[in-house]
């Protein structure tokens, strides 16, 4: 499910900036649709970012993160070519993993 994540990296010296766009409705469970039915909560609950096979960020996410979440992180000690792997799991058990290389 869901569209591939967009992962953008930029390297300044040995500090890599990683920007991630995830495609997800992030429904709070409080919105009513056009038929006035409450849309059930459907949101990313957890995510990880690994760089070069080491876990650098582990996040727990709630319903008040915006739809199609955008996150930015930075890490020290990254090199060109290091593999960045981002994964998420949502409250319905759907998951997604995408990767990019530090450029």
């Amino acid at each position: 499910m869901a569209d591939p994540m967009k992962i953008r990296t930029s390297l300044k010296g040995d500090v890599a900036e990683i920007r991630i766009l995830m495609g997800h409705p992030m429904e709070t469970g409080q919105r009513k649709d056009a038929a006035s039915k409450t849309v059930p909560a459907h949101f990313i609950q957890s995510m990880t970012v690994e760089v070069g096979d080491k876990k650098v960020v582990e996040g727990q996410i709630g319903v008040s993160i915006s739809r199609n979440p955008v996150f930015g992180f930075k890490m020290k000690g990254a090199k060109v070519g290091d593999k960045v792997v981002v994964s998420w799991v949502d409250n319905k058990g759907n998951k997604r993993t995408d990767e990019a290389a530090i450029a």
């Binding site: 996040g59 727990q60 008040s64 739809r67 979440p69 955008v70 992180f73 890490m75 409250n91 319905k92």
Partner: protein
């Protein structure tokens, strides 16, 4: 916006197809991540409850914790937040929105060279304090700012 995908998602959820799949074991919460989602903290209806759910002691204000948010958010559905900590040994950053139905927005832990900073986009239901709480060396620190919201972004 991909309306076809939205329609499929809405109709499968409504017809219980997804529920059936989950029961059948085809869709299982995976074991990728070590930490279990902190339901107590995320379901808390006020900041105090969320902090209790995270076993966070009373945070001290810190000038070494930068919280960047707009003074006025025209669209409460997408409010940019930047948190940058220069407190030594920061291990985690938590973002809360005081007046949201569920104040805890997100919580990030850093390791292996990650710098203690994060940018995210949050939903805000109404004008409220946005709080960044940081854990460093087992102690908690806070920075907070009020963001005025003209159009709320939680329930519509």
């Amino acid at each position: 916006m991909n309306t076809t995908r939205r329609t499929v998602l809405k109709s499968t959820t409504a017809s219980g197809v997804l529920a059936g799949l989950i029961v059948a074991g085809a869709l299982r919460p995976t074991q990728i991540l070590a930490a279990d989602w902190n339901k107590a903290a995320f379901d808390a209806k006020d900041t105090a409850g969320a902090l209790k759910g995270m076993a966070a002691g009373a945070p001290a204000e810190s000038k070494d914790l930068i919280l960047r948010v707009p003074d006025i958010a025209e669209n409460g559905a997408v409010v940019p937040v930047d948190v940058i900590s220069s407190i030594p040994n920061t291990s985690s950053i938590t973002i809360l929105v005081e007046k949201n139905p569920f104040p805890l927005s997100a919580f990030f832990e850093f390791a292996n060279g990650a710098l203690p900073e994060v940018s995210a986009r949050i939903k805000m239901g109404q004008t409220s304090l946005v709080k960044a709480i940081v854990k460093a060396d087992g102690k908690f620190y806070i920075a907070q700012k009020e963001v005025k919201v003209t159009v709320g972004g939680c329930g519509d």
